[in-house]
């Protein structure tokens, strides 16, 4: 682990000097971690590749601004990939503003999701409207709060809550059909 950290630090130094080899090695080191995030926001593999390429160009361009004392490199990379993923979602569709005071709590049933594969779950997520999909992934998977989601998507907190509620409703419906 310590060896890996030291390796990453030297790679970062090389990237700051714009050394192509260091950039390539850092990219390959972070590939699985970054691709996993990109896949959550993309509709298919091609879109994920788009998000990845643009995100990594930004990473290498602004690597000089990365401060290791403020946080781990993975957190910084995740921020950039999520940002890129949200940009991709915004470009794909306009996120409509829906104002609600209280989000409806869907009926929670203990479904046997264990029988459902990750691919099938991913397909269900991709069937959601883009904004609803983004809010669900940001809230449930990446752990963002409604305030943070509202700031990132330029919507109100109420709208973020509404999208989460919608995602839950639709997912439950679709899961019940599969199961």
């Amino acid at each position: 682990m310590q060896q890996n950290a030291a390796e990453i630090t030297t790679l970062i130094e090389g990237c700051k000097k714009r050394e192509r080899k260091a950039q390539e090695l850092l990219y390959r080191n972070l590939y699985s971690f970054a691709m996993c995030i990109a896949m959550r926001y993309a509709r298919d593999e091609a879109d994920a590749a788009d998000i990845m390429s643009h995100a990594f160009v930004k990473i290498f361009k602004y690597i000089n601004t990365y401060d290791s004392t403020k946080g781990v490199l993975h957190a910084w990379v995740k921020k950039i990939i999520v940002h890129e993923g949200l940009d991709y979602l915004k470009n794909r569709s306009k996120i409509e503003e829906v104002e609600i005071e209280e989000a409806e709590q869907p009926l929670v049933t203990n479904l046997a999701i264990e029988n459902v594969s990750a691919k099938e779950i991913m397909l269900l997520l991709k069937q959601l409207p883009p904004a609803t999909h983004a809010v669900f992934v940001l809230y449930a998977v990446d752990g963002y709060t409604h305030r943070e989601i509202a700031d990132r998507l330029h919507i109100s907190e109420g709208t973020s809550k509404w999208h989460l509620s919608e995602a839950r409703k639709q997912l439950q419906k679709k899961l019940s059909v599969i199961i």
Binding site: R18, R20, Q23, E24, Y27, R28, Y31, S32, M35, C36, M39, R40, E45, A48, A49, M52, S53, H54, F56, V57, F60, K61, V108, T109, N110, L111, I113, E114, V116, S117, A118, K119, I121, M122, L125, Y139, A140, V141, G143, Y144, T145, R168, L171, Q172, L175
Partner: protein, 203 residues
């Protein structure tokens, strides 16, 4: 961490198991191309910036030279103009003043010779005034003609004295022709009463 429903937690766990596509090399090739393009753009921008800064410095040097040249040129022109003015001033002023004074004096002599000897006291007064005016005229030669005319009028009431118009005053003709007065063919003399027979003279 946000409060998640049990099935949501299961979804999150499942998503972590998601198999990743084998696009590592393809994505790296795309990233490399984008980075190369970005580097080329950056180098072009820096080259453009260098050119811009060079041209800017070139312009400033050019501007400074131009300003110095313009100042020198302005100084030379102003010196030439001042010299010309200085040369022109005495030539203009001196003859003009002497001419006007001489003309006035000649006029005065003519008038004095024409005036009858009976009018001597009045003329003496006038001469006294003219001597003063002459002094004034020497100081202000350009206004000589206009100042003298009112002084000469009062002391010469006699109609026999010939009044000569000052030579310096040009008589301007009206540019617009005036409409003739009265009936054409009848003059003012036609209305005068004339004695047919001079009886009083005969007697």
């Amino acid at each position: 961490m946000n409060n998640l429903l049990p099935y949501e937690e299961q979804i999150v766990e499942k998503l972590a198991e998601l198999p990743l596509p084998n696009l590592q090399d393809a994505i790296w090739a795309r990233i490399e191309n984008l980075l190369d393009a970005d580097d080329a753009l950056d180098s072009n921008e820096t080259a453009e910036e260098q050119i811009i800064t060079e041209t800017r410095t070139g312009r400033t040097v050019f501007n400074k030279k131009m300003i110095v040249l313009l100042v020198i040129l302005a100084l030379v022109i102003s010196i030439i103009l001042i010299k010309k003015q200085r040369n022109a001033q005495p030539q203009r002023q001196q003859p003009a003043s002497t001419d006007s004074v001489e003309k006035v004096e000649v006029n005065m002599i003519k008038e004095q010779s024409d005036i009858k000897k009976t009018d001597l006291p009045a003329i003496q007064k006038a001469n006294a005034k003219t001597s003063d005016t002459n002094q004034q005229l020497r100081v202000t030669p350009d206004t000589s003609v206009t100042q003298i005319t009112p002084i000469f009028k009062p002391p010469v009431p006699d109609s026999s004295v010939k009044k000569e118009q000052p030579a310096a005053i040009p008589v301007k003709k009206d540019s617009v022709t005036k409409k003739p007065k009265g009936v054409p063919g009848i003059s003012d003399a036609d209305y005068r009463m004339k004695a047919i027979s001079k009886d009083s003279i005969k007697n």
